[in-house]
Amino acid sequence: MSFIREFGSYLPARVVGNEEMGARVGCDAEWIMNVSGIEERRFAAPEETVVDLALKAAEDCLQRARCEPRELGMVMVASGSAERQFPGPACSVANRLGLNSTPAIDLPMASAGSLFGMSLAARLASAYGNILVLGAEKMSSIILRQPMERGVAILFGDGAGACLVASDKGMARIIDSDIHTDGTFAEDLRLEDGKPLEMNGRSVILQASRKIPRSIDDLLRKHGCEAKDIDVFLMHQANQNLISRVAQALGVSDARFYSNIRRFGNTSSASMLIAAAEWAQQFGFTRGQTACFAGFGAGFNWGALLAQGAV
């Protein structure tokens, strides 16, 4: 058995609104809002790194959980925008937390990384104890590369999210998860060294709009419930239109899907945990309440995770 003990997040201070973004990419603010549901996003300072962002989310999470770094049995960092190929950010985050022998694992997975991290942590917590899962992205360093694709550049922002998974106690019990990978369309969402992000939006939307609801439905059916039984959906914040489409496919109202994409844009692997942290701080789990997490990203990788309030 494993539990969600706490969430945490960090958003850089600089707010980039659609007026500024539109001026940079050559479109108007209203168009950005209409195609994405995004009104503003955050950009990290030039000197801030993925490690810096992850560390701040980690500190926020550990402080909320009243957990010392030395109590961690493992650290996982999901990021698709890390500054170097290797070593990835996990070892540096662990080092800056004062951990020099605790295993720290990188999940170089854009968008779905934190969902995969939570799923793996849920299974590993019985062996490693407290596992800190982080999703951290500095997408601004990628989307402004030339030649800039405006339909891509408008979507993304920077930030980091955290989830502390424990084997013994927490605000919610992790009931089960369902994760998948299909490399058939790997070329449709990719980032080559030093090059702009390449995205075939039609392919991503087509695959995501079918795979996410299917994964959620399969997971819920396995546990004898349906989407209408779920109190809140905490999904990767890719695009408001996609979130609405997934809700529609599952036959539930958009209102069940917590959304903060309007304010933060798509922060890739960080987005689901940033949304979860914000939701937990505003509302939080009550005993028996159910939450379904879901993600989809480059690979394609996708899945869902079911949790139930334990306090």
């Binding site: 058939t184 075939n200 939006g201 392919s203 939307i205 087509l206 695959q207 239109n241 996609l242």
Partner: protein, 77 residues
């Protein structure tokens, strides 16, 4: 009603526009459909023609024009 006529009807329903695309005209580049209409169109095709389209066949190019949709459905019949 022939298959192409049925495809046009589905495109009109999904796009909520009384469009009349040429067989080889791109439904997306022409602005008749947007990216978020594509999943709706695929679902409608599955229902109308009683086929299950596997994810591995969901290359947007296969559904980019009436002629391509028709060819795909022909390959599945």
């Amino acid at each position: 009603m022939g298959r192409r006529e049925t495809i046009i009807r589905i495109i009109r329903e999904v796009s909520k526009k009384n469009v009349n695309p040429d067989a080889d005209e791109s439904l997306f580049d022409s602005g008749m459909l947007d990216s978020f209409a594509l999943p709706d169109m695929v679902s409608a095709l599955e229902k109308e023609f009683s086929v299950t389209i596997p994810d591995s066949d969901l290359n947007p190019r296969k559904f980019d024009s009436i002629a391509r949709i028709d060819a795909y459905l022909e390959s599945r019949s």
